[in-house]
Symmetry: C2
């Protein structure tokens, strides 16, 4: 399949649609854009537009074939490739992430959990032995790691990102509350608890002001 340009806002919504379709597939074979929109918290015109980028148009009066649509979204997102992930930081967060079953569910494989703390290296976390940070480059090359997850304190995140990028990792998921500078060609996604909390705080204080 030659894929045309998909806007980044659409890319962000595709995982949500996919999750809703997974739920729907238990009880139905087709779904309308309205059903999908309602589950995804979107509007149906947006859903139809987003899915049209995949070359998919629902059949009037029938809707979308759920199995087909799941396959198209998985393909667009590259989920059948089985990318390997290295988690850097074996503290509470890194350990929680190692246990996270969402990785394998979506076709990602945790290839290694690493840390630079001698107290943590060698420990077992979620059935995996914590490996030394000094071996990062070898691990990335040998296990064909594509995605680096940073679960270190903020103060170490930039140095870890530098090492990941130098080792050839092109995608970084950053949990440390800091903005990373990376070379061109490296994609960073940030999962930041405090950002989301602050947005909630905004809504709470707006509500308080209104009422």
């Amino acid at each position: 399949m030659v894929r045309g340009h998909i806007p980044s806002a659409t890319v962000s919504r595709l995982p949500v649609y996919l999750r809703c379709l997974d739920d729907l597939s238990a009880t139905a074979a087709t779904c309308s854009s309205e059903e999908l929109a309602s589950l995804a918290g979107a509007n149906s015109a947006q859903v139809r537009k987003d899915l049209s980028y995949l070359g998919t148009h629902g059949v009037r009066g029938v809707g979308y074939n759920i199995e087909e649509l799941r396959g198209q979204i998985r393909q667009a997102l590259g989920l059948d490739t089985g990318y390997a992930v290295v988690i850097v930081g074996a503290g509470n967060l890194g350990s929680a992430l190692s246990n996270y079953d969402g990785f394998s569910k979506w076709g990602f494989e945790v290839a290694a959990l690493i840390d630079n703390d001698p107290e943590k290296i060698g420990n077992r976390v979620a059935g995996r032995v914590v490996e030394p940070f000094s071996e990062l480059e070898g691990i990335v090359t040998e296990r064909r790691v594509s995605i680096g997850v940073i679960a270190t304190p903020a103060a170490h995140a930039q140095a870890v990102a530098d090492r990941l990028a130098a080792a050839g990792v092109r995608s970084i998921l950053n949990f440390a509350p800091t903005v990373l500078q990376v070379p061109a060609g490296v994609e960073v996604r940030r999962v930041d608890l405090s950002t989301e909390l602050q947005i909630l705080s905004f809504h709470l204080s707006r509500d308080a002001a209104a009422g």
Copy 2:
């Protein structure tokens, strides 16, 4: 201060600006919109526009006063209110969240960590005793909880959201990989690992297709 409307996209960027300003404040008293934009990964016109919603305009040739701007953003986000947070789910993720120092750093207080598993209730996590889910309503009322964090498996998330909303919690931060249905007036933010991973996967597969 009577606050005008702030667009939600601007609200999402304010926490990022605030974090950059916190970093800058260690070494400078003022900053330009260009400096702030570069640190935040935004463009300077966007930064000026976003900050204008707070009634703040930099001084030509000088820029923004960092201390003043931090105060204005904190006020806009309601961060000085000290909202109390309850974490539901004392598994790996909930435990990691209990240890997360971002909560207190941004003025949030973890009021309780709760679970419905008798094996977990009574355990100490990050100096806090795990309390029973059955006492949710009392905890929310007595400790004036404003924000509920859901760190349970996906299958239990909707039931937890229902209980939180019924107990009067108006803001929910959901870590479970599922879309929640909540009553009008309840704000949900989702932190979803698999969504971010899937977006990274898209970029990896696009790069692979490009050569």
